[in-house]
Symmetry: C2
């Protein structure tokens, strides 16, 4: 698989890029600024080769739209204030068959409010806004909202379940398989894309725990048969 | 402590009643129908004495308002369609200093919709609606939304964290201490009452998991220092 991470120079995007590269995936991080992307990619490869021995060319860096063009899976990890604008810029290069993963959380911090509160999005969630803004035939999947950027950027296992929501069952299955490449992660079928409303908001709650207790919180779903984590 | 569970004849209320009675608390379950409450209480005591050996008088049953009058902690576990009406009936008997715990989830099932979706509540959450409807001086705490009724009614440990939200820190602390009396439960400070918006909605997500995977799901928050579960 080839994976483009839009907003890949940020903490969540960088963390995901490192994790997928370590798992042997071909990763391109995107930025509005091509040079910034190239530099960040080089830095991630260097960090990776020191720590977990990633071969240097495993992560490339490009301007967002060119990163997007090559990828089978595009992952969006921009702050919510850049969400709609980024999608409008990507629209001309997105093509049917691509999987578009939205990890965006509409935190009130985007408009100067608190990171422990969310904004109401007219469509219901950032992911549903995405579904409205991508070309027809692009499969929108919501995932990776609740994984701590700090933990993703570390070397240790990620003590968090990834809840995957989509109206495209095949695309969701591929994203669950991808999520499971991150050590520690279990991936779960979160149902329809509309359920991203809840999964996105959980992040605001987790940020509150982090502030109150100086942690890097995540969540695990309990009480399900083992099969639920394997589908 | 004396605990009244309003809507205590339902599955969540019954489950909480059994758990608190087993922990040695004095529990009264309330119902609109006094006789129904008495019968259910007797049944719970009988079940309890067979399984976990609760002495017979540990759970009493009364009409909702009289159950409420005696209690230091009142726990509301009615379906959302009965939420506002129940609160209006309880208002004359609630008194300053009481702790009012709301476990209600505004599921769309209340108006004939799905249990995997929630209704928008004008105040933001069922718990915030409660804060508007109780007399001044009553401390409103949101908790016990995510604990499976089926698991609470069983004999085994409850594999779930209870996230407690309130604007009254002392009351929240007491409710966390109460929650920890249920074997397996860890209780966490979920911040202000407004965060009940998120905690309530998580239940709809968990119901979705239960339907898809035939489980009784709960959740655990990871990545926090041990102290977070002890405060």
């Amino acid at each position: 698989m080839s994976i483009a991470i839009i907003g890949g120079t940020g903490p969540e995007g960088s963390g995901l890029a490192s994790r997928f590269a370590r798992a042997g995936e071909k990763v391109v991080i995107g930025s509005r600024d091509a040079q910034r992307a190239t530099e960040k990619a080089a830095k991630l490869c260097q960090l990776g080769s020191e720590g977990a021995h990633i071969p240097a060319p495993a992560i490339a860096g490009e301007e967002n739209t060119s990163a997007c063009q090559q990828a089978e899976i595009v992952i969006l990890t921009v702050p919510f204030e850049a969400h709609a604008e980024t999608l409008k810029r990507l629209k001309p290069v997105l093509r049917p068959g691509q999987i578009f993963v939205d990890a965006t959380v509409p935190l009130a911090a985007s408009v100067g409010g608190r990171a422990t509160r969310t904004l109401g999005v007219w469509q219901g969630s950032a992911a549903e806004q995405t579904a409205e803004l991508v070309p027809e035939g692009v499969a929108v999947v919501a995932a990776f909202h609740n994984t701590s950027a700090e933990v993703l950027q570390s070397d240790g296992p990620v003590d968090c379940d990834v809840i995957v929501c989509s109206d495209d069952k095949e695309a969701a299955k591929k994203v669950r398989a991808l999520a499971r490449k991150i050590p520690g992660v279990r991936a779960l079928d979160g149902g329809k894309l509309e359920n991203a409303r809840i999964v996105e908001q959980i992040t605001a709650l987790l940020i509150g725990f982090n502030i109150r207790h100086k942690g890097h919180s995540g969540l695990r779903i309990t009480g399900l048969p083992q099969q639920a984590y394997e589908l």
